[in-house]
């Protein structure tokens, strides 16, 4: 019974992933290329600013791979959280099929984002390794683990945002500025180690820099942090997922169908 339910859910999520792919990247356009252009532009801009201000990135890291790895990690967070409120709305017609649930729709979306950001990460780390800016990822399992952790964490968060979105339209309006404002706190620009001592005490409890650090350690194997708390992040992701699933159950009653 449980196995049948799980198989059905996998089928549904698989079908939803394909459906998302079709409308997001289209069948004819170069949607997927845009996906690489965006982080390249942003990380490129940040690098220019770093160069022109003669600021040095500590530990001899090259600013380009340093920032782009941080940005790709942040992208997963931003896209998943931003789209959470609208994704159910745009896929609501598919819920006419009883087996399609709100959590399936969100999981399909975040899985697709995981695939897309991961491809971006592979592309850029390979490119920079080839150019000699950064090593070929030295601890690939950490890199994969970090990306998966970011997926899990942001999926839980997306479920909560989606559930809240069914209660108030303000959620959708507020979430975009909030995710942009969170960029400075994302770990794209820093490692917790580099911060002044008083900031470090606070920053080590921010989830995004923690996860970004894990991904970066996957690229630069000799990076070490005294401020990494994997168990803390995993418990946060688990709690968020639990609250998210609970919230979706309540919010399901409020979804309007035409």
């Amino acid at each position: 019974m449980l196995a049948r339910g799980a198989r059905m859910q996998l089928r549904v999520i698989g079908a939803l992933v394909i459906r998302e792919l079709q409308s997001r990247f289209g069948r004819h356009n170069i949607g997927f290329l845009w996906f690489l252009v965006e982080p390249l532009l942003l990380a490129g801009g940040v690098t220019l600013i770093t160069y022109s201000s003669h600021a040095q990135i500590p530990e001899g890291l090259h600013p380009l791979p340093f920032h782009i790895v941080g940005y790709i990690a942040y992208m997963q967070f931003r896209t998943n959280v931003n789209r959470a409120a609208s994704v159910v709305l745009s896929n609501r017609v598919l819920m006419y099929h009883r087996q399609v649930t709100m959590s399936d729709i969100i999981i399909a979306c975040t899985l697709l984002e995981l695939g897309a950001t991961f491809s971006g990460l592979i592309f850029f780390t390979s490119l920079y390794a080839w150019l000699g800016f950064s090593p070929i990822p030295e601890r690939p399992l950490l890199l994969i683990g970090g990306m998966l952790l970011m997926w899990w964490y942001t999926t839980g968060l997306a479920m909560i945002v989606c559930a809240l979105g069914q209660f108030s339209e303000a959620v959708e309006r507020l979430i975009h500025p909030l995710t942009y404002l969170s960029l400075p706190f994302s770990g794209m620009f820093f490692r917790v180690e580099w911060l002044p001592a008083d900031l470090r005490e606070f920053a080590q409890w921010l989830p995004l820099p923690q996860i970004t650090e894990i991904i970066r350690q996957g690229v630069w194997g000799d990076l070490h942090s005294d401020y990494l708390h994997p168990f803390y992040i995993i418990s946060q992701a688990a709690v968020l997922t639990f609250l998210g699933l609970l919230g979706l159950r309540v919010a399901r009653h409020r979804v309007r169908f035409e």
Binding site: G14, Q22, V93, R98, F257
Partner: protein, 215 residues
């Protein structure tokens, strides 16, 4: 069998919550075909969505001991941004059916020609109805919930539709919303009118139609 027990559904309006379904209880046996009538906005489609499990009632229970289609109307079940064929593949995947035979069945019934590979957004109402009905017939449910789409489409579709629905009526279960008396007389054995949140049942479709005109 489908059984509804004390189902309540309310919607917020600017004058407070309105009870669209007000303590509704009834059951539909396998093989029965039930016609539903009611004024515009009476809540017929809400009732259909509740029966299908799409709309969660505020109170009460809904049990289904047979497979029930999604409400077959002009909206729902197919995604406007996808082509008819991609929608068919989606349906095949989530119901665990083989894709190729299903595509053939849908195309054979819906007869959409080149539009089958165009986004559903570009379809006319009649073409949407053909696609929805084609998809649901290909999945093969025990019970079909038909929300006014039989009236759409050209005479060829109406003919195909008639054949398929008559066969379903003979072998399966049917719940149908329509404003057209002749359609209800054709497909349904019994009827019910939804008015003011309450459902009134009639032994025959003719009695229902008479009561409907007196409404």
């Amino acid at each position: 069998m489908i059984r509804l027990a004390n189902v309540v559904k309310t919607y917020p309006t600017h004058v407070g919550r309105r009870r669209v379904l007000d303590d509704i209880s009834f059951s539909v046996e396998r093989g029965q075909s039930l016609g539903l009538m009611g004024r515009n906005g009476a809540g017929k489609s809400t009732l259909m969505r509740a029966i299908s499990g799409l709309e969660k009632p505020d109170a009460g229970r809904i049990e289904r001991t047979m497979t029930v289609s999604w409400p077959l109307g002009f909206f729902g079940g197919v995604h406007g941004a996808l082509t008819g064929a991609d929608n068919a593949k989606f349906v095949a995947r989530i119901y665990g059916l083989e894709i190729e035979p299903l595509l053939e069945r849908v195309q054979d019934f819906a007869d959409l020609g080149v539009y089958f590979n165009m986004p559903v957004n570009t379809y006319s109402a009649g073409m949407r109805a053909r696609l929805s009905l084609g998809l649901s017939l290909a999945v093969d449910f025990d019970c079909y919930l038909v929300d006014e789409i039989t009236g759409a489409g050209d005479h060829r579709f109406v003919q195909r539709c008639h054949e398929e629905l008559m066969q379903r009526k003979a072998t399966g279960t049917l719940i149908m919303i329509s404003h057209a008396p002749e359609t209800l007389r054709l497909y349904c054995d019994t009827g019910a009118i939804l008015d003011g949140g309450k459902l009134t049942f009639f032994e025959t479709v003719d009695e229902m139609i008479e009561a409907y005109y007196a409404l």
